[in-house]
Structures are given as structure tokens and as C-alpha cells.
Amino acid sequence: MTLLATVLLVPWVAGALLVGLDGRRRPLAWSAVAVLAVGLVLLVALTVRVASAGPVQLVTGGWPAGVGIVLRADALGATFAVVSQLVLLVAAAHEAIPGPRARSFPGLVVLLAAGLTGLFLTGDVFNFYVFFEVAMTASYALAAYGGRPRQLRAALVFAAVNLLGSFIFLLSVAGTYRITGSLAMADVADGVLRAGANAGLLVAVGFFVAFSTKLGLFPFHFWLPTVYAGSRPAVAAILSGAVANIGGYGLIRFGAGIFPAQLRMAATALVVLGAASIVYGGVLAVSRGDTAELLAYSAIGQVGYVLVAVGVGGPVGLAAAVFYSVVNALNKALLFLTAGLRGPLVAGAFVVGALSVAGVPPAAGFVGKLTLFRTGVAAGSPALVVLLLVGSALSLLYMFMNYQRQFWRSDPAAGTTVSPLPRRALVAVLALLVLALGLWAEPLWQLSQQAADLFARESG
């Protein structure tokens, strides 16, 4: 219980202090990294406890649940919190090595960590919304990091579209409160069962739209390429590897946890949308020359897998959705971070990311693909299996064409400057992690299964 509150407190206090200082100074940037590292350690400790002893819960003020706010760490939230924190840590270190370009960068990243941690560890619908706002506001500010017109444009589009998404989310929260009369997720889930079919489904659609926009699913994706391609690599890594997790997490938490009946009802629609996303993202990525833009379309395709898995549902589908979300976050963080670098190790790191995206062993994506195929087979749908096959063929094609273009070009400008070693080493470490996850995915898969089991029990 103390741990649960501490993981929230550490980045919050540190972030509040850091935003007031000049974060361009290296020591400050590194202290932000240290805070994130401490946060990561605490979160891992929390996850271990959750995995071994079940969910941890506290209610603010010691009030009954519902009157006070329920904070609840379970396998699902803890997993997402850990992976997001990890991505933030790596991205912050990536910027800390040369020194951040903007004063507010370290503080904003740490506050983003606080927001994300709160969001993944809350058991209250409205509290989810406020942490969501903390995280999103920090992301809007981060999207402008770099200060060039390209980044400003990215930030503007990002903020405009996602504010709209947040608004839709808020409306849905209001609707949820109205039809269930409660805000604690457990009570809300009970209330939804009693609510009218029409209102329940409309509210659920609202949530779906909000999370899909966040995730960049087809056809809510139009903002995404501009933003990912326009922002700086570290920020793109943060947006795709940490912030986008909100969408995946939200789909699972709200879909399977609060609106299971509506989810089952809309399963076909979700699978169709997911399939469209996979194909659309994959096809569009094929002809993209710019690596960041390619990765953006790739991200659209990859989140389609998550939606398909959520749509199929069941213990296998949900576990696959969790697992794939995590793997996808790591892939995208790794790839976006390599996007700006040159020199030895970078090509290797990119290859690992590319293999993982395409689901080729020994990178982590391979286990993800295995679980997705299990989902497809569990759904008894040959069409789904073929779709997954097409998706992975497309991803293999675009990732390796891009790899060749980037790294096999008979270099006319042979004197391209090699990026500093620490930065390259950082992506190499992340690449090793992706490899290690492919070779031994046991802990992550167990967590994913535990996360999926949460809903198996709740929905009977």
C-alpha cells in the first residue's frame, strides 16, 4: 500500500521541482533520469508483489471505496506502468546524454511519468481522466520539444486532435457516472450491467473513440504520421512507446473490465477496424521514404493487432493484447530512438527492432506473433490468420527495405558523423532487451495472462 502511493509520489514531487529549474543543465537532466530509474525500480517491485500476491489497493482518506478514490495496482496496470516508465527512462537518458535542448524537458518527462503511473494504477474512472490529462498536457508540451516549425506543427496537430479525444473521453466519463451513479471502476462495471442497452453502448463507443484516437487506430489515425514524423526522435519514442500505451490500456481496461457486454456485442466491428488498421498501416508504410514517417504508419498497423486481439477477447486474446502492447511499445521506442543515429551498433539495434516488428525470431515480436496466431486460431477464423500473415509480410517488407535504404546505401557521404557512443550504447541495450524478451518471454507472458485472468473472473 505504501509502495503504491510512493510510486506516485516520487515522480510527482521530483517533476514539480524540476520544472522550475533549468533542465538544460546536464546534472538536472541526469537527476531526472535518476528519478525515472528509481520510479522504475519501485514499479518493478510493485509488479513483483502484484504478480506474486495479487492486486494491491488503497482508498484515499481511508474512506469507503467510491467515496474516496481507489488506487489499485493489478497485473494489467502494473505491466503497462513498468513498460511506459522504461520507455520514458530510456528516452530521457537519450536526451540527457547530449543535454536537453529545452529547460522544461526533464521536468515534463518526469511529470509525464507521474501522470502515466497514476493513470495505470487508478481504479477510479474520473481519477483516470485527471491523470490522463496530466499525461496528455505534458505530452502536448513535449511534442513541441525542439522548437522548430516542424515540431510546432506536430505539437499543434497533436494537441488539437487529442484535446478533442480527451473531450470525448470526458463526456463518456460523465455518461458513465450518470448511468451507473458511481466512479470506482468496480462499481461502475456492476452499474453498467444494469444500465440500458442504448446508453451503455453509446457511452462505450465514446470511450472507444477516445482511446482509438490516442492509439492512432484507423480511421482515427490521421494526426499520427504528422506528429510522429515531426517530433524529435526521443519525443516520438515517448509518444509511441509510452503515451500511446494509454490507448491500448484503456481499450483493455474499459472494454474488458467495464463494458464486457458491449465489447462482445461490438467484437466483429473491433476486429474489422483492427484488420483495416493492420492492412492500411502496413500498406502505407511500404512506400514511405522517411524513416520516422514509415515508423508512424507502422505504428498504426501494429496497434491494429492489439485491437484485433481485444476484439477476439477471451483469456488468450486479452493476454495477447497485453503482451503485444508491451512488445510494440518497446519496438517503437527502440526504432524511433535509432532513427536519428548513425554508426556501429545502430544498424544492429534497428535490425532487432525491425525483426521484432515483423515478428521474426529471436526478437520479442516473435512471441507476440505466436500469441496472436493463437488468438486467431482460438477465434476459429482462417481469415484472421491470413490477415496476420499479410500484416507480418508487409511489415517485413517495409522494415527491411527501410533498413537497406538506411544502412546499406553505398555511402556517398562516407564522412557522416557517428553519433556519440553512449547514445548508441543506449539503443543497443534496449535492443538487447527486445532480444531477451524474444528468447525468454516467460515473465511478461505470465503477467499478461494474469492481466487477462482479471477479466475472466470479473465477467464470469
Binding site: S104, A141, A197, P225, T226, V283, A285
Partner: protein, 781 residues
Amino acid sequence: MGDVPAGHENLATAPESSAPPAPTRRASRSGDRQGWASCALAAAGFVVCLVGWLQGGASSDWPWMPSLDLRLSFALDGLGALYALLATGIGVLVFAYGTAYLSLHLAHQERATAERWRFWPWMALFAAAMVGLATAQDLVLLFLFFDVTAVCSYFLIGFDRDEQQAHRAALMALLVTVVSAVALLIAAVLLYAEYGTFSIPELVDRVDSGTTTTVAAALLAVAGLGKSAQVPLHFWLPRAMAAPTPVSAYLHSAAMVAAGVLLLGRVHPLLARSDAVLTGLLVVGTASIVVGGVLALSQDVLKQVLAYSTISQYGYVVVLYGIGGATASGAAAFYVLAHGIAKSALFMTAGAVTMATGQDRLSRLGGLGRRSPLLAAAAGVAAANLAGLPLTAGFFKDELFFEAAHGAGSVTTVIAVLAAGLTLAYIGRFWMLLFLGRPRTDPSPVPRLLTAPITVLAVASVLVGVVPQLFAGLAADAGSVTNAAPVDVSPGYHLDARPANLMALSAWALGVLVLVFPGTARAGSLALARAGDRIGPQRIYTRLLRASFRLSGALHAREVLDLRSSVAAVLVPAGLLMALAFAATPTVGAYAVGSPAGSDWLILPLLGLVLVAACVTARAGTRLGMVLALSVVGFALAAVYALNSAPDVALVAVVVETMITLVFLAALARLPRAASAARPGHLHVDVGAEAPLRGARWRNPLAAGVAGLAALAGIWGFLSEPDVTPGLAEELIRRTPEAHGQDVVTVTITDFRGLDTLAEITVLLIAVVGVATLVRKGRLW
């Protein structure tokens, strides 16, 4: 990327004009530490495998990912030992050869010796993966090694990065082998769903015939056939010859391509559950034999002849697996061994010749026999081995093949004879054009390290040709795994008129006939090549790639990029989804209409005012007008709160609205007056300004209308739901005195939901930091 349809491109590894520099042995040998280390590794692997097999095999089984039911289970059974020994044994020789070859290759191309680091690790990893693949007993583990070999192959084919050909060839090989390998994964998952295990031995025990088994078996076959470059997935192999010769000699003859038939051999008991799959194998194998053999007849580039030959030779093995049964299983195992040693020797010959002469085409070579008799002899043995001539191991591979084919009926008998005849013809042509006739080049001496491995393989061929029992035991062990029952492999010379001997004689006669009339054969071969170029699978592959590019480009051109369209692209689908949800659920009685009473009569005009102000905001021509209209909306709503007995909310709404209006005005006053077309460099909010996009005039109202209707439906829908009693609100009011307060709103803000407040004020802080980042580069003051 467009792919050039198959041509007979010059795949010369050395520039044709320049004579190769005389190799200095010192540089070639002592320099390549990585190469020798790989070689030592392979040798150690060979010894371990050999000892392990001689001691009756070994197996290990550890949990890998228990919750996914994945196990690290390996077994050095007969099949595993055969492929592991083949991979490591050939590996030792090819790596030794490679130490010399690579140095020369890099020297020719004036590349740094450091590039070895992009070569040997992949070769060594490949060898290790092959051993893992050979011994893996778990389908997913098998898939893992299967793809690792493909990834190694990708980097090795693309080793010559300056050549566009190599890029395309590498990508093609990767795509074909990796995508077809996914079939293996799907099959594994299918079988797992049905039988609950990934373990091959357990599956062999449990699986019975049925649709799932047939589908899974077909998928497994696809994976194996793609890897083994069988028709119609064969086209990547000839292109893969862009790799340096040691790679071709190793991966694309004896090891990686063999992985496909290894898979077939490993899961054959599953394949045998479905007659359709076995028939399919027969058909594909036959097609590969014919296509590969006929195309090999007319190839000019040395390695191309051998590549098509490989396609054809693995066609034999696939046919044998299609036949199935004890004889065929043993024959297939023996065939793989004999072919491996023959083909890698031939590839190394091609590489040695090219290194010595700078030429890589049959039409420019000839008469090398006189200059390099040893090479000619060794290559001759290898060719004879491939063609199945007596006193070489190849004789027995053909003998066993003929026996199995004859046992399976007359059709396979004819196919077998045709196949062997073709083989003799193309490999005879290859050897004769290389080593006989008039010398056309002035070759530099071939380094000893380039010929020694070939000689070793030739000696091995002859040795097995005399004492076939050397391979027979191993082949029998391997065959019994494939057959899931003991297999007896007893090759030997029999001087009688048994069918196998007669078939061999007819095949040789056929082969000689083709050699004597090269024109006809060549014409047929060229015709097939042309047909293949026009309608063949490579054409389809190229078309598919191009089509996906065009589609991608076309779709991208239709992507919306501007801000308003991005917003509309969220609003419209959201509205449509809402409409879908609306249509999918019963709406009768879901929408309630209340009757106004009391203060409602004050609220209604206020809401009317809100409505008017909102419309004015949307239509406002100036920024000032827009801001003022917005603030009217805000204040009117504040009044509504006040009337709804929510004074706290109303107070906050009023002060916040005032502040927002002020901030808006201040911000707008500092923006450039208007977005002038002359200076598009302004951050502008163009209110009612020109609408440059076609159709934009309709876009905004349409998007807004759809979204507004959806919001109306949603909000009306949930407001029509009956009040939930007891609600959270009553609970909060009841407990407010407990928290020492009388004003429920304040207590909620500071106590019950203090965490929300804390987060929300953090949002304020972050927002102002964001503004500071934009305006003053993050300086707060």
C-alpha cells in the same frame, strides 16, 4: 523498389576487365582470425555431434516458457545427427575455404578487412542455428532456428553492399523464406490448439488424420518447400547467388536449403497422415526436378547452373518424401548427405575458378583442366557424385532413389529416370565446359586453401562410393525418424539386371543423349526460362511488390494532412460509430423528454442564449467576435449552474470564464493581424478566412453536424437513464460532516477527491510550463 525480372545478369564478383591480383598466401591465411575461429567452432561442433551420435544419441529437455508450453527440447537422434554432422562437417571445409576466399574477395573490391566482422559472425551463427534446427524437437523452437537461418542468409547475401543486385536478392530471399516460414508457426499453433503440445514426438503420437491435421501438414510442407527453394517458391535461390561463394557453398547448397527438407523429414509422420499432402509433395518435387534441371541446362553463369541444380536435387528429396515409407525415407536421408558433399564441392570449384580467372561464365571459360589438374579431378569426382556415377557416393543416392521410385509405381519410375538423366546432362555440361576444350583465360594459380576442401570432399565421395556403409548407418537412423519406424538402408553394388540398375543405365543414356545434342536441349531450356520470366512466380513477386508500392503511394496521396481535416477525421468516424451503435440497440423508450417546471423556465432561455452564442462563435468573422461569443456561452452556462443550485460551480465558472476571456483577448491581440497569403509563416487561426481546400466549405459543417448529432444522441441517451439511487452524490453529502465540513463541494475537492484536485492543478502547472516553453523557451519568468 522495383525488381528487375530475371535476366542473366553478370554476377561477377570481380570486375571483368582487371586481372585478379596474385594472391599472397600470407595475407589470405594469417589475417583471417575470425574465419579460423569459426572454422574451429564448426570443427568442435562436428566432433561433439559425431561423438554424441556414436554414443547412441543424446537428448535434453528444459522448460523454456512454461506458461506458453514451450520447451527447449533437443535430441541428437538420427535425423538430427545427420543434418548436424552435415552442417558442421561441410562448415569446417567451407569456413577453411572461406578464410582464403574472403580475403581475396575483399582485396579485389578494395574493401577493408574489417568487413569480415560482417561475415563470419553470421556464418558461425548460421552453423550454430543449423545444429539447433537439426536437433530441435519442439515446433516453435524449430521455427525459431528456421528464421534465424533465414536472417543469417539475408545478411550474407547482402554482404556485397555496393551491388544493388545483392540488396534485391537479399530482400527477396528474406521475404520468401520468412513469410513461408510463418506457415510453420501457424501449423504449430493449429496443432497446439487441437492437441495441446508443441513437441514433435508427442504430436507424432497424438495426431490422427482430420482436417486440422491436413491443413497443418500442408502448412508445414509450404514452410519446408519455401526454404528448400521448391517450385513455385524457387526463384529466390538463383538470385541469392549474389552472395559470396562460401555462402553459396554452405547456405545455399548443403545447409540452409537443406533445412527445408529437414523440416519435412522431421515432421514427416504428420505429413503422412494426409494423402493429399503427400501427393502435393510429389507434384511439387517433380516440378522442381524438371524446372530446375531444364533451366540448369542453359545457364551460363557458373553459380546459376549450380543454383538451378540445387532446386532440382532437392526436388528429388521432396519426391522421396512424397512417396513416403521406409525405403524412401532412408533414400532421402542418404540423398541429402551425398548431395551436400557434392554440391558444396562444386560451388567451391566455381568460386576457385572465378578467383583464378576473374570470369564467372561458362562461355568465357574452358580448358582449365590442363592448368589445374587437381581441381579438375576433384570437381570431376564431385560432378560424378552428383550425376550418380559408380564409385562415388552419388551412385548409391541414385540407387536408393530409383528403388524407392520404382517401388512407388511407374509414374515415379519415369520421373526418376528423367531426373537422373537431366542431372547427368547439366552437370556434365558444366564440368566439360569448364575443364575441357581450349583454354580461354590465363588463370593465376589457385591458392591451395581454395582447392584443398574440394579435394577432401572428393576423397570423401569416393570413399563412400567404395564403402557406402559409412553413410548408410546414419541414413538408416535418420530415415527411421522420418518414417517413425525402423528403416534399413543397405546400398551396395549389384551386378544384375535389377530395376534400379536398369533405371540408372537408361538415365545415363538419356543424359549422354542430351549432352550430344546440346542445341535442342538449350532451346528447350531457354524457352522455359522465357516462359518463366513472363508468367513465372518471380514475375508475380515483382508485380506484387510494385502493386503494393503503387497502392501505398496512391493511398498516401489521399491522406489528409491539415489540421482541420485531421480533426474532421476523428469527428466523422466517431459520429458514424455512434450511429452504428444507435442502430444496433433498441431505442424505444431510451430517450425521455421531461417537462419543465419552476426554475427551468429561467434555464431554458439561458440555454437558448447558449445556442445562439455557439452559432455565432462558429460563424464569427473576427477573432474578437468569436471570443466574445464564446464568453457569452460560458457566462450563460455559469448562470445555469447557479440556477441548478450549484453555487460553487457557478462561482468557479464565472471567475474562470472571466480569466479565459482575458487570456484569449491578450493572446489574440498579440497575434499577427491576419494571415496574409504573402507571408505564410505565421501561426494563425484563420477564422472564416479563405477556404483553400476543395470541398472544405462543406467539410466543416458536415463534420460538425455529424459529430454534434452523435453527441446529442449520446448525451440525451445517458441523461434519459433513470437516476441511480442511492447515488454517489448522496453518499458524499452524507459523509461531509464526518470530514468536518458543511460545503460538500469544498470537502470533495480537498478531501474525498483530493487526489483528483492535486492532479488537476498539476495539469495547470504543466500547461503554463508548456506555454513558457513555447514563448520564452521554458523560462517561467
